[in-house]
């Protein structure tokens, strides 16, 4: 005897009305962003490139700390190694910079293995400083690498930057100079990377693996008892974040075309800013880094001319948010309104029974 239950009785859904509308708006926004080079100035394209790459870094840091509970202060190691792998591939092996970006991601992934091996020997807060030490070690070692400029750094050779694939077509399409075409190419790549990152993280969090992730963050012991291997989940998150951070680092330095160890492994530029973006926007949400990066860019535009004051204010805002609204601006907004653009919670829909659940919203 076989029992075939009609498959329409129950559906497990994460979609909400708001998220559907947000999805439609998102698609329009993406189309507009892809078309932006047709009407936007070169300066705006560069600003958007900066915003998109910072957003991608922030999403990966948020995946690590907000979802994985791994507070790393050493992500600049992966930005730097990705960037240096790109420079090495272009300068030493004559590779085209665009495929070399992928090599940057691979290099970061490879580095993440010994990096994680050491860092995971430290718990909690000590993990944080441990990652910082490891990033310093990588910086110091790379600074000894004479072929890519040692401690002073180097630039991408003209022959390489002038012949990047697609730039001729882009230059012809928008009728711009080669340098502007290079910016447009970098911008499109950053846009694709940001969309893939957000989409990928959203997919991950909604998958079974995402549930395991939340379980490990909230209670490692309990997670183990229901069959989630905490160590494996941690490694998975760490390696994913390293890969994504490495790709972003390579892309950023392809656009910059000039590198030095101090810049590529900068704690401030690639980790401190990213942490503030995530904290101010709202840690543990996909929307948070998006809100955070916009506020960060606004603050930078308004205050960057004040130098040290700007960073001081950024630090104070970060402290203030942590003390007064630890879930960040988006988290507080979402708590108050219940609005989620990327809903992750599963809800049981439909079916013959109307189950009244006690009103225990988390």
């Amino acid at each position: 005897m076989t029992i075939s239950a009609p498959d329409t009785i129950y559906r497990v859904e994460t979609r909400t009305r708001t998220s559907t509308i947000a999805g439609l708006v998102g698609i329009v926004l993406i189309l507009v962003l892809f078309a932006a080079p047709a009407f936007a100035s070169r300066g705006l394209i560069q600003d958007l490139f900066f915003i998109l790459t910072m957003l991608t870094l922030a999403q990966f840091w948020n995946l690590l700390a907000g979802y994985g509970g791994l507070v790393s202060v050493g992500q600049q190691a992966f930005v730097g190694i990705g960037a240096y792998a790109l420079f090495a591939a272009v300068i030493l092996w004559g590779l085209d910079p665009v495929p070399a970006i992928l090599l940057g991601g691979v290099a970061a992934l490879v580095l993440a293995v010994p990096f994680g091996f050491f860092a995971f020997r430290l718990q909690g807060a000590y993990f944080a400083i441990g990652t910082w030490v490891l990033a310093e070690v990588v910086r110091l070692i790379v600074a000894q690498w004479r072929a890519v400029g040692g401690g002073t750094g180097t630039s991408l050779p003209r022959t390489a930057t002038e012949n990047i694939i697609f730039t001729d077509q882009i230059a012809a399409l928008f009728d711009v100079r080669a340098s502007a075409a290079r910016d447009i190419l970098a911008y499109w790549l950053a846009l694709v990377l940001a969309i893939l990152t957000i989409g990928g993280i959203y997919w991950l969090l909604r998958s079974k693996r995402g549930l395991g992730l939340a379980a490990v963050r909230d209670n490692p012991q309990a997670a183990r008892s229901v069959g989630v291997d905490a160590q494996r989940v941690k490694w998975f998150v760490f390696l994913t974040a390293a890969l994504g951070t490495g790709l972003t680092g390579a892309l950023i330095y392809m656009q910059k075309a000039r590198i030095s160890p101090d810049a590529a492994f900068s704690l401030n530029d690639w980790t401190a800013y990213v942490i503030f973006i995530v904290v101010i926007g709202g840690i543990g949400t996909i929307e948070g880094p998006i809100v955070g990066v916009l506020i960060f860019f606004l603050l930078q535009t308004l205050l960057a001319q004040y130098g040290a004051w700007y960073l001081m204010i950024l630090g104070l805002i970060g402290i203030g948010v942590m003390l007064l609204a630890p879930r960040g601006l988006w988290g507080s907004f979402s708590d108050r309104t219940g609005i989620q653009l990327f809903p992750i919670r599963r809800r049981l829909m439909g079916g013959p029974l109307t189950i009244k659940t006690p009103s225990r919203e988390e």
């Binding site: 909690g124 807060a125 904290v279």
Partner: protein
Amino acid sequence: MNWIDTIVQGILLGGLYALFAAGLSLVFGIMRLVNLAHGDLIVLAAYLILLIVSLLGLSPFVAALIALPLMFGLGYVLQKVVLNRVLGEDILPPLLVTFGISVVIQNALLQGASADTRRLPTGDVGVASISLGGINVGILPLLTFGSAVAVILILNHVFYRTALGRSFRATSDDPTTASLMGIRPNAVFAQATGIAMMIVTIAALYLGMRANFDPAVGPARLIYAFEAVIIGGLGSLWGTLAGGVIIGLAQTIGAAINPEWQILSGHIAFLLVLLFKPRGLFPRAFD
């Protein structure tokens, strides 16, 4: 090249790193708080001493005496007003808040004192040395090491022989039960951070007299301190001294081989200990 000389220098440098580390170790031991602004607080204290020296024309040693209570007060207030509010199960808030404090201190110093490098005036002490068994040893490195040993002796005495230390240990074990004894955990934490800031002041005195400093050197001091604490084993102050000595030795030996390898050698010594003794050389029996 005189290897014995190098080794003596390395050991004495370890005293400085132990001074960097003792405050970090104390605060972590009592409230499980890792203060990412620790290095910047050392630099802040160095500027405070410098300010007192230049305002009042005093010797750095006397200026540090004046700075001690001021830094105690700063630590007390910082803990009471800010850090106590983020202590708890979740390690993220204290990390992010202390990281924010680190950025604020660095940039406040940059704004207030510029990026120029500074040094505390040392007078004759800076250049004086004595001969120990044929090796010339600087008075200042000797004083640094002696101060580190003295600080650890005093801390151990306070910790294990006084009522204050008893309340520190009890609160560290179990804040809720400590409060049933009439102890206010938040006040204990504030006192502990205050004391840590006094050690920071002593560390700052020697940092400022032995080398140039500027607003950006804090994070590296935090890293050396952290390495010394981990090498020594969490919660062991003598272990922290040993950890400082190992970092100091690795750095001076590395520098003797190739000046560019100084910092890297220290980090590699740390990674080796982490590889073979993940709980440090002198781990506490229970935790």
